[in-house]
C-alpha cells in the first residue's frame, strides 16, 4: 500500500500548491494564453522547438507572419496543422496572433560554422549583398534590408536561420509548393538562382552573426527592385 500512497500524497500536495497560484479569469484572458495552441511546435515564445522542422516565428515582422497565416489558410503554403489552426478565424484575430509573436524579442542562436569552401561563401556574399545584374538577380539586401534583418511590415530577416531552413524555403518556392501573394517576387528570384547559388547564399547567410539590433528596418531605404504582392503598395513603386 505504502509505495502506492506516496505518489498520491505527493500529487495531492502538488495540486494544493498549484491551486494556491491558480490564475484568475482576467489573468487568463490574454493573447499569450490564446496562442498556447502554437507552442508545442513553435515553442512558448515562438523560438521554435528543437524537434523536427518548426520555423522560428518570434521577432519576425507582424505583416510577414500574418501573410503566412493567410497563406496557409488559402492553400498557398501547405502544412495541414497550420491550415487547421488558421482556417476558421477572423483576419483581425490572425493579425493579433502575428503581432504577438512579432513582439517577442528573443536571443538568436550563434551563427553556424562554415561548412563549405571559401569560394562558395564568397559567391554567396556577392549574391546576398550585390546580386548578379547579368542574370537579373537583385541583391537579397535590396529587399531584406542592408542589415538583412528584414523591413517592416512584411519582409522577414534572413539572419539567425539555419541554412537547411533557407534552402528548404527557396526550394519550395522553386517547386511551387510555397507561394506568396502575386506577383510572387521570391518565386521568381528562387527560379533565377542555380542550385549552387542557393547553397552558396544560404551558407553565407547562416554564418553571419546577427547584429545587435535585431529589429527589422522600419522602411525601405530604396524602392524594392521588383514588385512583390506581399509588400504593401504604398511602400513600393508602381509596376
Amino acid at each position: 500500500m505504502k509505495p502506492l500512497l506516496l505518489p498520491i500524497v505527493l500529487l495531492g500536495g502538488l495540486s494544493l500548491a498549484a491551486s494556491a497560484a491558480e490564475p484568475s479569469a482576467t489573468e487568463l484572458d490574454t493573447i499569450a494564453q490564446r496562442v498556447r495552441a502554437c507552442t508545442p511546435c513553435h515553442g512558448a515564445e515562438g523560438r521554435a522547438t528543437s524537434e523536427g522542422y518548426y520555423p522560428r516565428i518570434a521577432g519576425k515582422p507582424a505583416g510577414y507572419l500574418y501573410n503566412q497565416l493567410v497563406n496557409f489558410r488559402d492553400g498557398r503554403r501547405h502544412f495541414p496543422m497550420m491550415t487547421y489552426l488558421t482556417e476558421r478565424q477572423t483576419e483581425q484575430f490572425l493579425l493579433e496572433m502575428a503581432a504577438h509573436f512579432a513582439a517577442q524579442e528573443l536571443p538568436y542562436p550563434p551563427p553556424q560554422r562554415p561548412n563549405v569552401d571559401a569560394a562558395l561563401l564568397e559567391r554567396g556574399r556577392v549574391l546576398a549583398t550585390e546580386g548578379d545584374a547579368q542574370r537579373e538577380i537583385p541583391a537579397c539586401s535590396a529587399c531584406h534590408g542592408s542589415r538583412l534583418m528584414g523591413v517592416e511590415p512584411s519582409v522577414p530577416g534572413l539572419l539567425g536561420l539555419p541554412d537547411d531552413y533557407l534552402i528548404a524555403q527557396m526550394g519550395s518556392w522553386r517547386s511551387g509548393s510555397r507561394r506568396a501573394h502575386e506577383p510572387d517576387c521570391m518565386a521568381e528570384i528562387a527560379r533565377r538562382l542555380e542550385r549552387e547559388d542557393l547553397a552558396a547564399v544560404a551558407a553565407w547567410l547562416a554564418v553571419q552573426p546577427v547584429p545587435e539590433n535585431t529589429r527589422p528596418d522600419p522602411a525601405f531605404e530604396q524602392e524594392p527592385p521588383m514588385r512583390c504582392g506581399s509588400i504593401p503598395e504604398n511602400t513600393q513603386a508602381a509596376p
Binding site: L4, L5, P7, I8, L11, L14, S15, A18, S19, E22, P23, A25, L28, D29, I31, Q33, R34, V35, R36, A37, C38, T39, P40, C41, E51, G52, R73, D74, G75, R76, P80, M81, T83, Y84, L85, E87, R88, Q89, T90, Q92, F93, E96
Partner: protein, 429 residues
C-alpha cells in the same frame, strides 16, 4: 467483397422498381415552405442568398483559396474522393445554361441537367424538403454570382462506387423526394425550425445514423466524407448532442458563436466548427431560435452525463494512475485539476459530453490535433487546444482519456492505444 455482392444483388432486385418510379409524374410545383418569421422576404435574390448561406452550398463548392462556388473542393471519403462541381453561372463549365426546372430537379430529386443520378454527398436527401419557391429564390441568387470558367474534375472513386447507375438501387431503397409538409398541430415557429433543420441546414446529413446499407455512405456519417473521421453525435441522445435539456438561448448561442458561455458547456470543433463559421453565425437569430424550438422537441434517449461527478479520486493504479500523471502535467493548467475547467481559457472536461460519449473518435482527434473553436462575431478571439501528436504516444493519450472519462459518472468504453493509432494521419477536418 461481401459489400460488392450485396450491392449487385440489390441493384438487380431494385431495377424494376426504379424503372417504375421513373414513370412517376414529376413533381414540379413543390409545396409551400413555412415562411421565415422575421424581416422582409419580398426580395427574391436576398431571400435566396440567406437560404444558400444556411444550406452551406458555398464552402462545399469552393476549393481552398479558389473562386467562390466554382467547385474543385476535394471531399475524401471511404469510397474515394469526390470533387465538387462548378455551380457559378458560367455557361460552359458551370450551370449557366440551367433553367430553374433543372435546378429544382437537382435539389429535389438529385438529378443533374442531363438526367445523371447524383451522389448524395451532395445532400439532396435533405434539400428535397426545400419548397419550389425557395429553390427558385436560391437559383435566382446563384444567377447573380460572377461566372467563373473552371472545368469540373472527375471524382476519384473506387469500384464499385464509381458506377453511377448503382445509385438507382441506393435511391430506390433510401431516397424519397418530398417537400417538407408542415404539421398543423405545431406552431409556425416549430414548423419553420423543422423545415430548416431537416431540409435547408441539413443537420441530419451528418448527425443521423444510417443503417449499414447506406451503400455509398459510411455507416454513421451519411454526408460521405465531409465528416471525415469525426463522429457526428446524435441529436436525439442526451449523452451525445441532444439539446432537449438546454435553454433556447444556449442553443442559439452555441449555433451562432460556436461555444456556450456557461453550463451546459460545449464547443464546436472539427466539422461542426466549419458549419458554425461558414453558415450558422451569419444566419438571422430568429431562424436559429426556430431551429432551437424544433431541436428541443425531438424525442430524447437517456440523460446527460453528471457534470458534478468530477474525476475518480479513489487510489488509482496502472494505466489510470499514469493517465492522471499525464493529465496533471499536460492538461490541468487549462482544464483544471479536477476537470472543472478554467474559464474563459478552457471548458470543463468532467461530465463534458464531447469526452463522455461512447464513440471515442472525437476526444482522440481533439487530443491528437487540438484546434480552435470557430472565430465568430460573438466569439472573435477563441482559445485554442494544443495538438499533442508531437508530444504524447498512443498509449499515453489512451491513458489520459481513460482518466478523463472517469468523470463521466457512468461506465464508458475504454480507449485503447490501437484506436489512437487509427486516428493518426488522414485528413484533419
Amino acid at each position: 467483397m461481401k459489400r460488392r455482392i450485396v450491392l449487385a444483388v440489390i441493384a438487380l432486385a431494385i431495377l424494376a422498381l426504379v424503372l417504375l418510379s421513373r414513370l412517376r409524374v414529376e413533381d414540379r410545383t413543390g409545396g409551400e415552405a413555412p415562411p421565415p418569421l422575421f424581416a422582409d422576404t419580398a426580395n427574391e435574390v436576398e431571400r435566396g442568398r440567406a437560404l444558400v448561406l444556411l444550406a452551406d452550398c458555398g464552402p462545399c463548392h469552393t476549393a481552398r483559396g479558389g473562386e467562390p462556388f466554382a467547385g474543385g473542393r476535394a471531399i475524401p471519403t471511404p469510397f474515394g474522393t469526390f470533387v465538387t462541381p462548378n455551380i457559378t453561372p458560367d455557361p460552359e463549365t458551370g450551370i449557366g445554361n440551367w433553367t430553374s426546372d433543372d435546378f429544382w430537379r437537382a435539389l429535389h430529386e438529385g438529378r443533374s441537367r442531363d438526367g445523371r443520378l447524383l451522389y448524395p454527398t451532395f445532400p439532396y436527401t435533405n434539400y428535397t424538403k426545400i419548397s419550389r419557391r425557395d429553390a427558385d429564390a436560391m437559383f435566382a441568387y446563384l444567377r447573380t454570382l460572377k461566372p467563373v470558367r473552371r472545368e469540373n474534375r472527375p471524382h476519384e472513386l473506387r469500384f464499385p462506387y464509381d458506377q453511377r447507375w448503382l445509385l438507382a438501387a441506393w435511391r430506390a431503397l433510401f431516397f424519397r423526394p418530398g417537400v417538407y409538409e408542415p404539421d398543423p398541430e405545431r406552431s409556425a415557429e416549430w414548423n419553420r425550425g423543422a423545415y430548416l433543420v431537416q431540409g435547408v441546414a441539413h443537420c441530419s446529413a451528418c448527425h443521423e445514423a444510417r443503417n449499414a446499407l447506406g451503400a455509398i455512405q459510411s455507416s454513421d456519417n451519411p454526408a460521405g466524407g465531409l465528416v471525415l473521421d469525426w463522429y457526428a453525435p446524435s441529436l436525439t441522445r442526451a449523452r451525445e448532442a441532444g439539446v432537449q435539456h438546454w435553454s433556447e438561448e444556449d442553443i442559439v448561442t452555441f449555433l451562432r458563436t460556436g461555444r456556450t458561455q456557461s453550463a451546459p458547456h460545449a464547443s464546436a470543433l472539427g466539422p461542426m466548427a466549419e458549419v458554425v463559421y461558414e453558415s450558422l453565425q451569419h444566419v438571422h437569430p430568429g431562424e436559429l431560435h426556430a431551429m432551437a424550438v424544433y431541436l428541443k422537441s425531438l424525442p430524447v434517449d437517456g440523460a446527460p452525463p453528471d457534470a458534478g461527478a468530477g474525476f475518480a479520486s479513489a487510489p488509482l493504479t496502472g494505466s489510470l494512475a499514469r493517465g492522471r500523471e499525464i493529465y496533471m502535467e499536460h492538461c490541468a493548467d487549462c482544464h483544471g485539476e479536477r476537470g472543472e475547467g478554467r474559464l474563459p481559457a478552457a471548458i470543463p472536461l468532467a461530465g463534458n459530453r464531447a469526452v463522455c460519449m461512447d464513440s471515442v473518435a472525437n476526444p482522440i482527434r481533439i487530443v491528437l490535433y487540438g484546434g480552435y473553436p470557430p472565430g465568430t462575431e460573438g466569439s472573435p478571439r477563441p482559445f485554442g487546444m494544443p495538438p499533442f501528436y508531437p508530444t504524447l504516444r498512443n498509449d499515453q493519450i489512451a491513458s489520459v482519456l481513460n482518466y478523463v472519462r472517469t468523470g463521466c459518472g457512468a461506465d464508458v468504453p475504454r480507449v485503447t492505444a490501437d484506436e489512437v493509432e487509427r486516428n493518426r494521419g488522414g485528413p484533419l477536418w
